[in-house]
């Protein structure tokens, strides 16, 4: 049996994706930045930089530092805000025929809900990804995503505001990520994506100061892949909804490992900085793997881990 063109289509709730390769929020700008390197319309979806209701300036510099096989960032959620996103950024993506997922963030449950309402009903937005790694300012800055109840409440609030497919993006900085995943599933999420960055820190031994102005930052890149893969595998077994795998994916082989672990789709993050064409390269690599392994559909790969 020769597989000519394996079926790469996957589904997250009512969201149909032509393939499982997406971009990770905050690593792909608003898509336009990559237009000369990647055919945006060929990707499963473009997940844009996290948007808040109001524009945010972000943290003071230095904001990034390289670490062993990874990097720390403390961008501080700099973004143009919902209105400018809709007016200035979304039209380009629509013209490029990209499937757009908007990553949303807020300081309070009301924030998330209001933002989901504002984004709802705009043509060209296919789904929302809810970043719950943000601090809940009303609860002393504890991240929404570290507490199952708060995570569920955010999900419910967004669920009320829109019938767009909702993917809740989980933080790995928790004791039991499956508890959070189950809570957002109960809250009405159509899928979960993970992992966001691991909280880390870098110190300059010469100045005896933190390297980042924000002191701590989020660790991403190949260094975190083993942790991400473990969490994706755990969550895929714990929930019924689709799981989107994220964390250190640099190659088709990496992506395939996440799919085998149970991810329905994957997002490429830090690797976009090293090779802006990574997503398309991975797309080709997955297709080749399926052909070599005589699989006519990506569904045969997803969750195929034999333990």
């Amino acid at each position: 049996m020769e597989i000519e063109k394996p079926n790469l289509r996957v589904k997250i709730g009512s969201l149909n994706l032509q393939n499982p390769v997406m971009t990770a929020s905050g690593t792909f700008g608003y898509g336009e930045e990559f237009a000369s390197y990647v055919n945006l319309h060929r990707l499963g979806a473009v997940v844009v930089k996290g948007i808040s209701m109001q524009p945010r300036p972000g943290n003071p510099p230095p904001r990034i530092v390289e670490t062993a096989c990874g990097m720390l960032n403390a961008i501080g959620l700099e973004n143009v805000g919902a209105e400018r996103f809709l007016a200035e950024k979304l039209p380009y993506l629509i013209k490029a025929n990209a499937t757009v997922i908007v990553n949303v963030l807020g300081d309070s449950i009301d924030d998330y809900q209001a933002l989901a309402e504002r984004l709802h009903g705009n043509d060209g937005i296919s789904a929302l990804e809810i970043n719950i790694s943000c601090p809940n300012v009303k609860k002393g800055g504890v991240a929404f995503g570290t507490n199952p109840e708060m995570a569920q409440k955010v999900t419910e609030a967004v669920r009320k505001a829109t019938d767009l497919p909702i993917i809740v993006k989980l933080t790995p900085n928790v004791t039991d990520i499956t508890a959070i995943a189950k809570a957002v599933e109960a809250g009405g999420a159509d899928g979960v994506s993970l992992i966001n960055t691991l909280l880390g820190m870098a110190i300059d031994s010469k100045t005896r100061r933190p390297v980042l102005a924000n002191v701590v930052g989020g660790l991403s890149g190949p260094a975190v892949k083993p942790v991400a893969l473990r969490m994706v595998w755990q969550v895929a077994q714990a929930v019924e909804i689709p799981v989107v795998g994220i964390g250190g994916i640099c190659s088709a082989e990496d992506a395939i490992e996440f799919l085998i672990a149970g991810a329905t789709a994957i997002e490429v993050g830090t690797a976009n900085f090293i090779n802006p064409r990574t997503t398309e390269d991975i797309l080709v690599g997955i297709s080749d793997y399926l052909k070599e392994n005589k699989m006519d559909s990506i569904q045969k790969l997803i969750g195929s881990l034999q333990t």
Binding site: G58, P60, I64, V65, C69, E78, I274, N275, P276
Partner: protein, 265 residues
């Protein structure tokens, strides 16, 4: 726009200019054809994943036969790896990126002021100014640690017919002191000058102060940590003047800025 990402670029030549300064000549026609002076390239130093990120380098020279040069000092792991590159090796080089220098008005005199590796983009800039048919005075004021560091670079400028003046930290060549101290010596305050500068922040601050005093327009080329070099990571933020909590991004809005766009502190 097509970029030089699809395949790695061949190193045509690797030169050591002093103990820790290197110049690589890389075959990258797409970059050579479109580069503007002041723009930069992102170079992958490691073949593995450590160091992970690309390193930014100013475009030092381009040639009509498709080569691009970078000039760099070994300061860490990435540059150490690049220094070990030899003819025939392949490097992934990606660019040209960023906003380069622009000439304010054709017939003002031009002073290019470089310190350390900030000299790198000025050679390309000088050639480009001369080729543009510029008819004013064009000088290069160059600061370095010592004579060994600057000798062959100075020759390159002189070769183009650009007048140079040198300042070294140890006095082993030219003026013993700061390159800023050369400015009023070589730039007649009675004339109209525009200044294009690249170098360490304190040096550029000194240059900008003098230019402000003299009312000379001045463009500065900034450095920050960069992850992507293309506006995607928002890591290369620097404050805008007047509103310290509003940021611009060196890789996209710069690296070259008008001095008035920079917070000098």
């Amino acid at each position: 726009m097509e970029h030089s990402l699809t395949r790695p670029s061949e190193v045509i030549r690797s030169e050591a200019l002093g103990s820790d300064i290197f110049r690589l000549t890389i075959m990258a026609p797409q970059i050579a054809d479109t580069a503007q002076p002041g723009q930069f390239v992102m170079v992958q130093a490691a073949s593995g994943q450590d160091p992970l990120l690309r390193r930014p380098f100013s475009i030092h020279q381009v040639s009509g036969n498709g080569t691009v040069q970078i000039l760099f000092k070994v300061v860490g792991r990435g540059t150490r790896l690049l220094a070990a590159t030899t003819k025939g090796d392949f490097l992934s080089v990606f660019g040209p990126l960023g906003k380069g220098f622009t000439l304010a008005k054709q017939n003002k005199n031009i002073a290019m002021i470089g310190g350390g590796m900030g000299i790198a983009p000025l050679l390309f800039l000088g050639k480009w100014i001369l080729r543009s048919g510029f008819s004013g005075k064009l000088i290069a004021l160059l600061g370095a640690r010592n004579s060994a560091e600057i000798n062959s670079l100075q020759e390159d400028f002189n070769h183009l017919g650009i007048t140079t003046a040198i300042a070294t930290d140890d006095g082993s060549r030219g003026h013993h002191g700061l390159v800023t101290q050369l400015m009023l010596q070589h730039m007649d305050p009675g004339e109209e000058w525009q200044v294009l500068t690249c170098g360490p922040y304190p040096m550029m601050r000194g240059v900008a102060e003098i230019c402000q005093g003299m009312n000379w327009p001045c463009q500065v080329s900034m450095e920050t940590m960069m992850a992507c070099g293309m506006g995607a990571c928002l890591g290369c933020a620097i404050s805008k003047p007047n509103d310290l909590h509003s940021y611009q991004h060196v890789c996209k809005d710069g690296p070259v800025f008008a001095m008035s766009e920079i917070v000098w502190k």
